[in-house]
């Protein structure tokens, strides 16, 4: 007897193992809350060369070799408001800005003075800058505030489970939709699942992850996001970031119940040769966001993308034609509910007296932008547990209320 019939004959396969907790809606969301996609530019992206203060002479004085030229010049910035302009490699974002769906927040970031990548990233993702004792991420704490029926796919981290998502609330880590299933012979699957369920029947983190896997592979199979095509002729770059964002779009369209997703785009630590290093990264970053926007089309009315980075760079270029670790940088907000078409900032200026240890000062706490999104686009009422030490302000006019 082949193993197949041997096992089928046993009756084991008939045992109902896991009941998928599917939440299907029009766009797959509970209520009218937006899906929040958090994009993290790892390495400390140079906000001053992404969104260029071309109206500021100190910018050109500090960066004689690596400044992006003024609009109208060769390789010049794409003007946004007469003072700021986009790096030309970010040109795909211009039409989104003009359509009112993209806003820039400048001179923003985490107020902690750390210039250490990992400490700054950790602080930001925990949502408690300067506190060494936090052990869970701000998005995990946000998910824990939600009530009502939940999909296993409420919180998804692409490539890893980012610190912002880590914590007691169960979330999904996903490397690819295609690879997210059980690799076994069809006839072995049910008996193996029964055994696995029996072996992971405690309450330790490993058991939580195990039951999360058994539920989520079923939910994913039922929703089948991998079969959903890219719409409206959008073309994602064939990069890790492009691939991840394409899959976020597939999860959104599948109605699997995604509420928050974290996606990383790495490589922004430009200590040397900033222009050569940033050109392909910025192109990939902008082309991916533009493809995501085009792909989702009308669905962008209920999707919010926010980008962040651990810190900006030193205002003054260094001897290697790069920039060292700095402070303030840029966040982008993209979506139908964004008060777009503007650069939102209390611009601190770049004269030496305006700087924070040689770096762009921070006039908008990144938690202000995130609170703005959570309150106005996700309908959050109380952020006390999400950003426990944060005294506000909890809005900067970045988002329209739902």
């Amino acid at each position: 007897m082949k193993r197949r019939t041997f096992l089928k004959a046993s009756g084991l396969a008939a045992v109902p193992l896991i009941t998928p907790r599917l939440v299907f809606g029009q766009t797959g969301q509970t209520g009218s809350a937006d899906v929040l996609v958090c994009v993290y530019q790892r390495g400390g992206a140079d906000g001053l060369n992404m969104v260029v203060p071309h109206g500021e002479s100190a910018y050109y004085q500090n960066r004689p070799n690596i400044a992006v030229p003024q609009p109208g010049q060769t390789g010049g910035a794409i003007d946004l408001d007469g003072f700021f302009g986009l790096n030309p490699n970010l040109s795909p974002l211009k039409s989104l800005y003009d359509a009112g769906d993209l806003a820039v927040v400048h001179a923003t970031g985490s107020p902690d003075p750390s210039r250490s990548h990992f400490e700054a990233q950790d602080f930001m993702e925990y949502g408690t800058p300067g506190v060494n004792t936090t052990t869970d991420g701000w998005l995990n704490r946000y998910l824990a505030t939600l009530s009502g029926p939940a999909s296993t796919f409420q919180g998804v981290g692409f490539g890893q489970v980012q610190l912002a998502l880590q914590g007691a609330y169960p979330v999904v880590g996903m490397n690819s939709i295609e690879g997210y299933n059980l690799n076994t012979h069809p006839e072995d699957e049910d008996p193996l699942r029964a055994a696995i369920a029996g072996l992971f029947n405690q309450a330790a983190p490993m058991d939580v992850a195990a039951s999360g896997i058994l539920a989520s592979v079923d939910e994913l199979k039922a929703a089948d996001p991998g079969s959903i095509a890219v719409d409206h002729g959008a073309e994602y770059p064939a990069s890790p970031f492009g691939t991840d964002m394409q899959q976020v779009a597939q999860l959104i369209k599948s109605g699997i119940g995604l509420q928050v997703a974290c996606v990383d785009v790495g490589g922004w630590d430009h200590h040397d040769q900033l222009e050569a290093a940033m050109t392909p990264l910025a192109s990939d970053f902008a082309a991916t966001l533009a493809a995501f926007y085009q792909d989702l089309g009308d669905r962008m009315a209920s999707v919010t993308v926010v980008t962040m980075t651990e810190f900006g760079r030193r205002v003054k270029e260094n001897a290697s034609l790069g920039t060292d670790h700095g402070h303030g940088s840029v966040m982008f907000a993209l979506g139908g509910g964004v008060n777009g078409g503007q650069v939102i900032t209390q611009w601190p200026g770049l004269s030496s007296g305006d700087l924070n240890q040689g770096d762009l000062a921070i006039t908008t706490d990144y938690r202000t932008v995130l609170s703005d999104a959570l309150i106005n686009r996700l309908g959050a009422a109380d952020l006390q547990s999400v950003f426990p030490d944060f005294v506000g302000p909890s809005g900067a006019g970045v988002f329209q209320s739902i």
């Binding site: 007897m1 193993r3 041997f6 096992l7 004959a9 046993s10 009756g11 084991l12 250490s116 990548h117 990992f118 400490e119 060494n132 052990t135 981290g157 890893q160 489970v161 880590q166 979330v171 999904v172 880590g173 996903m174 490397n175 690819s176 295609e178 690879g179 997210y180 059980l182 690799n183 076994t184 012979h185 072995d188 008996p191 193996l192 029964a194 055994a195 696995i196 029996g198 072996l199 992971f200 029947n201 330790a204 983190p205 490993m206 058991d207 992850a209 195990a210 999360g212 896997i213 989520s216 592979v217 490589g267 200590h271 001897a319």
Partner: protein, 538 residues
């Protein structure tokens, strides 16, 4: 001089090009030498089916020696466990600590035959990097590291090499570090991995890879760079709450001004006095008088090596490695005391740690990191010949995101379960366990494009299921035998029942099955067992 011109195209662990000729050569040499095979599995001690328990009754927890091997090795055979049990913990620990007494020559000779860079000095690697664009020392040191961990018998030493490499982490793919890391590993980490912390710290401070990685090479009196100074105190010695201030960071940076690298020096390290800040400095309350040179930095290293915060920080990190993610304070304090009393003798610290009650009570409290999971798969089984175990190890550790030396930040890879345990990570391990156990499954989604599309798990890591099965034929006997050979201890009744039910497939659990069904059941039990917590934790 400009070693930075060695920088080749940006790489990551995922774009590191494996040298196929070298893979084939090392695989053939390992197999031909017989060293590709680990010691045999436990003999089938059962007299008859139904009486398959080993001679000694197995507890539901690993005994102390099995627990020690779970923690101090990348996996072990029944033979090794027998040896450890014969010697007892204290004596087996001494055997492992005497790392230089092991015969490691066979593997080392094979490695040096295939990987040229392991024998080179700085001038040679620089010359080769400039003249031979096939030269790939980054792959060579990654491969050598994984092969040593998989096959060398001095396992505790190899674990400590990994511990210190991670403690003094540099990103292999950061510029010229890819050319120099192998020399750093050979000359600065390995000689001191079971030596004295002070020596390790001094060697690391002058290592070209660290000078490059944390920008020490460009730290000058006119343009101080605080990168190394900060990480030296935060990550290498005192710990972030170890009692230093931002002023200490600046002062320490001044002490190390002029420490740089030049091609004209044999070891590349060079103290360039004109770039040194000769003013007086105050570090952690101690005055370093004006007019000093290279000794300013050396004095800082000595100060830090002797500091009580360093003893506490290193002790905690060792206890996190070998006891639990949040180790009992009593164990940390005991190890820190030993550290202080012995001037940072690493062997003595490990003696205190492994002979403590807290260690003995910590069985199963650590979650394997990817390297540990993958290597324990290899080392638990006796691979049959013609296997491609090295490729298995290399690709799976990469796919699970723990390629040696590839962590980009100076913290090194996390030693906390929370960093490695999530649905996708555990799912990847399950799928790997299923592939290995069934043998005919695609390693699939976990394998990179270098691989032929039809490759199945048994091409890489064929496991001797027939040998393992022995005379066991009933579901209960098969289950017990697989548990014994994989875990070397029993498991709770609930878990055993789940596996027996899987093996039985609806048949009575005590009835002998025909051989083909028994083999299929053995594979199914292995699949579930390798996926279970019992094999995920150590």
């Amino acid at each position: 001089m400009n070693v930075l011109t060695l920088q080749s195209s940006p790489m990551t662990a995922n774009t590191l090009k494996a040298n196929q000729a070298q893979i084939q050569a090392i695989t053939r040499l390992l197999v031909d030498s017989g060293m590709g095979q680990l010691p045999a599995m436990a003999a089938d001690k059962s007299a008859a089916d139904g009486k398959t328990l080993a001679a000694a009754p197995m507890d539901q927890q690993p005994d102390l020696l099995a627990h020690f091997l779970n923690r101090s090795s990348y996996g072990y055979s029944a033979e090794e466990l027998d040896l450890a049990r014969d010697l007892g913990l204290a004596e087996y620990l001494e055997y492992q600590l005497a790392w230089e007494a092991f015969d490691i020559g066979v593997i080392e000779n094979l490695l040096h035959q295939v990987f040229d860079s392991l024998s080179m000095d700085y001038a040679e690697v620089i010359h080769r990097a400039r003249s031979d664009n096939q030269f790939n020392p980054a792959f060579e040191i990654v491969a050598a590291t994984l092969i040593r961990a998989a096959y060398q018998p001095n396992q505790l030493y190899e674990m400590m090499v990994e511990f210190w490499s991670n403690h003094f982490n540099v990103n292999l793919f950061d510029g010229a570090i890819q050319v120099f890391k192998g020399i750093d590993d050979r000359d600065n980490i390995r000689p001191h991995a079971l030596g004295r912390f002070r020596d390790l710290l001094h060697a690391n401070a002058k290592s070209p890879v660290m000078l490059l990685y944390l920008d020490g090479f460009s730290n000058t009196a006119d343009g101080p760079n605080e990168n190394y100074a900060r990480e030296l105190m935060e990550l290498h010695t005192l710990g972030v709450n170890g009692g230093y201030t931002e002023d200490d960071v600046k002062e320490v940076a001044r002490c190390f001004t002029g420490w740089t690298i030049t091609e004209q020096a044999d070891g590349l390290f060079f103290f360039f006095a004109p770039n040194h800040d000769t003013g007086a400095k105050t570090v952690l309350g101690q005055t370093i008088p004006a007019g000093g040179g290279i000794e300013d930095g050396e004095q800082v290293l000595d100060l830090l090596a002797s500091h009580p915060s360093t003893a506490a920080f290193i002790a905690k990190k060792l206890c996190q490695r070998f006891i639990s993610d949040e180790p009992p304070q009593a164990a940390v304090d005991a190890v820190a005391t030993t550290f202080t009393q012995t001037d940072g003798d690493i062997k003595d610290c490990l003696r205190t740690l492994f002979l403590s009650d807290e260690f003995a009570a910590s069985s199963g409290q650590k979650f394997k990191r990817p390297v540990e999971y993958v290597l324990s798969l290899v080392r638990t089984f006796t691979p049959v010949s013609n296997n491609r175990a090295f490729e298995f190890i290399y690709r799976q550790t990469r796919n699970m995101k723990q390629t040696p030396f590839a962590y980009p930040a100076p913290t090194g890879y996390s030693d906390q379960a929370a960093s490695w345990l999530n649905t996708n990570a555990l799912l990847d391990r399950w799928n790997l366990a299923f592939a290995v156990a069934f043998g005919d499954l695609d390693l699939g989604r976990n394998v990179d494009g270098d691989n032929e599309p039809s490759a199945v798990a048994a091409d890489f890591l064929p496991i001797p299921v027939l040998t393992m099965l022995g005379s066991a034929r009933s579901a209960a006997a098969i289950t017990d035998r697989m548990i014994e050979q994989v875990l070397h201890h029993n498991i709770g009744q609930n878990d055993r029942d789940a596996l027996i039910q899987l093996a039985a497939g609806g048949q009575p659990s005590t009835v002998p099955l025909p051989l083909d069904q028994a083999l299929a059941s053995a594979r199914a039990v292995l699949a579930a067992l390798l996926a279970s917590r019992h094999f995920q934790q150590r």
